[in-house]
Amino acid sequence: MGTTQEAQEPSMEEEKGGLVRFFASDHRYVLLGTSVVALIGMWFSMQPRSSQSFLANAYALEVVMYYALMAWVVVSLVALVTKLVHWRDYQQKSPFAKPAAKHVERICSYVVWLFSAVLFVDRAIMGFVAIVKSAVGSNANPQDFVGGMVYMVYKGRGIFARGIATTIELAVFGTVIAFFLALLLVFLRLQQIDRPDNDFVRFLKVIGCGFAKVYSAVVRGTPMMVQSLIIYFAGFAVLSGSGMSTNDIRAVWSTFVAGLVTISLNSTAYMMEVLRGGIEAVDPGQTEAARSLGLSQWQAMSKVVFPQGIKNSIPALSNELVINIKDSSVLSVIGVFDLMFATTTVAGIYYRQLETYIAAAVCYLILTMVASKLLSMLAKHLDAPAMGPALSSSEVAVTTGIAGSADQTIKVDVDHTEDRVRRGGM
């Protein structure tokens, strides 16, 4: 085991620097790797030109570029053959391995990259621009895949924009509301019976802790889609029970409000568990120290434990926003006009499902990537421990403790038994 791991580590490092070396150092990469690039460039050159192609006016230039690329491939092939023949003394004898030749090869490889890039822009990007132009100007839905997608996104841009705005609103407001609810709930969950409490306070604390536990279990144990339907119809039933007309209820209890309530309440349960992990990672000795100075349980938590616990939880908490962006899509079942609902609407208008749903997937991907980038910048600003994006709710259940961990390690072997049981005693 040990030896294989040691053998793997340097190769991992090589892979990291591979792209840099591709351009800079390795002889093989310059000749063979760039040949692949040249072949791709030649393939682009063989594709039909679109109406937006700028090389259409410079045919001679494109011919020169095409043959330059081909020449590069031929030279590389010759170099390869030479290397295979003289594999023993290639470094010493081959003209390709001389320092001056290597220098020229590198400069030529940059030219190859440039030519291929120009061809890529001319065929692929300008080709896409041409498709967009024709699709936008078209009166009928183009039959081709990309054209159809562009046409539908363009024609349905108002619907998509409204859907994206609603999705962002749901995710952002839902996450913020959930954060504050989760703070409240995690305090209920973590508080303990304290000596000065009278019987009424003790009763309330037991009820509060039990409520938090049950809430977390129920909400995390049922699908959000079911929750949204229950909340929507329950709200409807309650309001109609109070004698409101259906139209009045629709004005107050809109699908958006019901969706926001659902996403907030759902996210609260997950965020509570995240916060609990972060808070429990704070060294319990700090609570003891605060209590020994005379601070109450609430003061010790709010002044010492929560600030550190919340900081520990920031990476996992911010992932809740990313998760909410995606999970808000299930709210379309109650008719919330989010991105998913907008996509279904557009797909229904044109009866072209695959193209619209791929467009929706791209939208969601852009939203989540932007959100996680912004959040990681925020986390860096707040000096919180870094963590990659969580792609499912289950990943955020575990948080790691940073604060206090340095102090925890120094407890030496004195009074072991007392230390172990003391945790519950406070």
């Binding site: 000596r195 009278n198 120290a289 005379g294 601070l295 340095a406």
Partner: protein
């Protein structure tokens, strides 16, 4: 010594019939114990003998199963006593320092006075600076506590406790987490504190400190006080065989201290 001059005065702490068990494991059985004002009491004993638990019962970090803990005549162990109010007068220093990592050195010291005594921030800071100066850390007032060494952390912890102007200081193995070279800086602060007349209860493995600084030594074994008395008597002529055994093993490890004794 202090114990003679305080004859007839009210004890700061009087413990009667204290019992504590964790599940089936009995840690303290029937402890009776007194600390007079200005007295320095050290508690020694093997690991697991209940020293730390006894100390933690004094400020109710551990709830006793039975018995009384009288602090200035008020029973801390009674139900529904406002322990928070009483803890303000009992400072505690922990083995693991337990500084508040989200606050800097000065804020560590001012948090409790500002929160509990409603002291103005300026007054609390002036007081904190005075105590930080006493422990030799005034220059570090604005430093984050995570940047300090162990000895510095423990001295901040002492200053933090002093800022509440306690009547009694509890030390729970304050030097056990420190490497031998910096144990001295913490012990000298404690020595100064004892000289100033602070009432102290110290759980420690530093036998030299117990012998030279304390007015009374309490030797604990198996959850009971096996022997207590004057440090000179305990360290030179222990009465109980268990005390003799514990100290002899200890003194064998440190031959230089045998000569001093």
């Amino acid at each position: 010594m202090a114990s003679e001059s305080t004859q007839g005065r009210e004890p700061v702490i009087r413990i009667e019939g204290l019992r504590k068990s964790f599940g089936k494991h009995v840690v303290l059985r029937n402890i009776d114990f007194e600390v007079m004002p200005g007295e320095v009491v050290t508690i020694i004993g093997a690991s697991g003998s209940g020293k730390s638990t006894l100390l933690r019962c004094i400020n109710l970090l551990e709830t006793p199963d039975a018995g009384h803990v009288w602090f200035h005549g008020q029973d801390l162990a009674a139900e529904h006593v406002d322990v928070n109010k009483l803890r303000e007068k009992i400072g505690m220093v922990f083995q693991g320092f337990n500084l508040f990592n989200n606050l800097n050195v000065l804020q560590n010291c001012t948090l409790a006075p500002v929160t509990l005594k409603k002291a103005s921030k300026a007054d609390a800071e002036a007081e904190a600076m005075r105590h930080l100066d006493e422990v030799g850390l005034a220059d570090f007032a604005k430093s984050p506590v995570t940047s300090l060494s162990g000895g510095q952390k423990q001295r901040v912890a002492i200053a933090r406790a002093l800022c509440m102007k306690p009547d009694l200081m509890l030390f729970d193995e304050p030097t056990s987490a420190l490497d031998p070279e910096i144990v001295g800086e913490v012990l000298s602060v404690m020595r100064d504190l004892a000289k100033d007349g602070m009432t102290m209860v110290v759980v420690t493995h530093e036998m030299e400190f117990a012998k030279n600084v304390s007015d009374k030594v309490v030797f604990m074994d198996q959850g009971v006080i096996a022997e207590e008395g004057d440090p000179r008597q305990i360290f030179t002529n222990p009465k109980k065989p268990r005390t003799r055994e514990f100290l002899s093993r200890y003194l064998e490890d440190k031959p230089d201290q045998v000569q001093e004794a």
